[in-house]
Symmetry: C2
DNA sequence: ACAAAAACTTTACGCGCGGAAACTTTTTGT
DNA sequence: ACAAAAAGTTTCCGCGCGTAAAGTTTTTGT
């Protein structure tokens, strides 16, 4: 772009030798113009410094190329990773992703969805807060905008859901733990913000019963998204009070497990498998930090890339499919057992 | 908003009984209209469902209320926290923050800045990648848009900088470590992406010399943002090769320390102060996970809230100050010693 | 080579709002 | 109460682009 600044599309059309409506078509979809035309436009684009005005572009379009990505809590590296993957998938599809975090606050989530409507997004990828979400707000939003839920589920809302197959993943790790030592207790939040917790508890109960073991669920009171804090404080208390029936604890997610590991360490309990260890602790999610805990955390990995790719793919289908809503699909991604040293 | 949908400002002006230009003024700044007028508009706002069209609003405004927040790596909870704080400060000021992550990639950072120009933002809060940033791109951007750099510094770029006072914070923790045991070695990346590293090394050297101790810097090769991985692998190797001259290691940041703690654990080295411990490890930043490492990490806290608040305040001054650039300011926030068990 | 199809050009309009100018009404200070 | 200041009204234009319609040129298939 050595040439002078171009102030609008009219001017750019002139210097590129193409009519403005065709240039406009090009910017909406480069594939929609003839190859020779495209080449001439791109030559001009290379020579002059011009970009269509974002606001003017989107003003009259019924639908923009904007895609909202909403996650419940960005300070959780899990969502940071997911967001990154989703963002890049969108860009690869020629969409313009915009990232939002609800910061754990339902009111904030509602505000995001509200302002998102003003952006006339082509679609939205929403990982809702879950249990604490304002159901009616989310529902109304999904009625207006093509939305794919991911990670976290809200019954009967959204057009598709992409998440992990908790039945499969919990079944797998419970089987592993039963096979290699004492059957696991489940450690979870008393009032989990994340609906996956409920599915995981159900999966745990089912798996334990199928193996003929007694169920032992320990619930940690506490609200909010400070899972490590809750896991450490309440997990430590549960250990002290002897509320874990066996020496093996399966945590509902890795962040709780990280807190619990800290609690065990503080009490001088050696965590790991084999003799000389007092406790086995396992998690779920393969949190980015799980491999650096002491000891490294045995867990079930969620395939971030697969979840991201499938979410974006599902959204694209919905967008292109238009109004003919079709069936609501539930796309589940299988987890893999990640054996480290903690269990 | 029980009433029918309002399709544009003209219509809303009619139902609220106020002229459109005045309504327009209201939406630009509610304080700019008389209290009685404001009340009437807000009554109508309450009664009808209307929001100004975002795209039309920003099309003709010389400057929007948009503020870009750019961080280098969102999967790092440190930036997640900062982003949250900054975002909320902006909203409190009536601005519309939009969040971006460079995902550790200079090309991506450049692309963000490029597309940000199209949004005509009132200002930008930029935590640059640092050393790997494309200097000329960042420089050009800062010339066009009021920009406050935070966390990470690039010489002579941007209008203000807000970050931690590495001289003070490193000086403090070096003093602490020297006073309570063997003088610390410094563990850092060989080619740090973050320019804070360089400042911290200089501060370390200065502090050690002032205490009359020999300097011992251990550099970990490795690129990218996978600090824990690098800290664990290279830190473990350095331990094995006996490259740490004393039993005390000060890490350039907490993420390296987290990796190093994992390495020490894997080798069966007990970390902590007092007898029975092989190693003392300290970090810097008070990373959200630092309190849940095993043992909990002694570190220097950065005041997230203060950095966020001061960054936003500095940006607002720049925006309101207009073109009269004034002096480039460097606003440094002091760290606090956070004594936990690792050192 | 010829007709049909596809792509492009010309012309024209409108989106929803910002903002300026000239005028009228309300508020403020003494 | 009166003039000055502040706030609101009316009228108008333009921003940069999407998009539709009608006409023209180029490409495609046989």
């Amino acid at each position: 772009m050595r040439g002078r600044k171009i102030k609008n599309m009219e001017e750019f059309a002139t210097v590129s030798g193409i009519s403005r409506p065709t240039v406009s078509k090009y910017f909406n979809d480069p594939e929609s113009v003839r190859a020779t035309t495209r080449a001439r436009i791109e030559a001009a684009l290379d020579k002059y410094d011009y970009r269509p005005n974002v606001f003017a572009m989107n003003q009259n379009r019924r639908l923009t190329k904007i895609v909202g990505i909403v996650v419940p809590y960005l300070a959780d590296p899990f969502f940071g990773e997911i967001a990154r993957n989703v963002e890049q998938s969108c860009i690869a599809e020629g969409l313009s992703p915009i990232l939002f975090s609800s910061h754990g606050d339902p009111a904030y989530e509602a505000a995001i969805l509200d302002s998102l409507r003003g952006l006339k997004p082509a679609g939205v990828l929403l990982a809702p807060l879950g249990r604490s979400s304002d159901r009616s707000v989310v529902e109304r939003f999904c009625d207006e905008v093509p939305t794919v839920l991911f990670d976290s589920y809200i019954d009967d809302i959204g057009e598709d859901f992409v998440g992990s197959n908790n039945d499969q993943s919990i079944g797998m790790i419970v089987e592993y733990l039963c096979r290699t030592g004492e059957p696991p207790c489940l450690f979870e939040m008393e009032t989990p913000s994340n609906p996956n917790s409920n599915k995981r508890r159900a999966a745990y109960v089912k798996a334990m019963e199928s193996h003929g073991h007694a169920v032992n669920v320990v619930k940690a009171p506490g609200l909010g998204w400070d899972f490590e804090e809750i896991g450490c404080r309440e997990g430590g208390r549960a250990i002290a009070e002897g509320r874990f029936a066996t020496n093996t604890i399966l945590c509902s997610n890795d962040r709780l497990a990280i807190g619990l590991l800290a609690a065990a360490y503080q009490r001088g309990l050696r965590v790991g498998r084999g003799s000389g260890h007092a406790l086995r602790i396992a998690g779920h999610d393969d949190h980015p930090f799980a491999r650096y805990t002491c000891p490294p955390l045995t867990t079930v990995s969620q395939d971030y890339t697969a979840i991201s790719k499938k979410s974006v793919a599902a959204l694209l289908e919905r967008i292109e499919g238009g109004e003919e809503a079709g069936e609501r699909r539930s796309i589940l991604v299988e987890g893999k057992l990640v054996m480290r040293d903690s269990a």
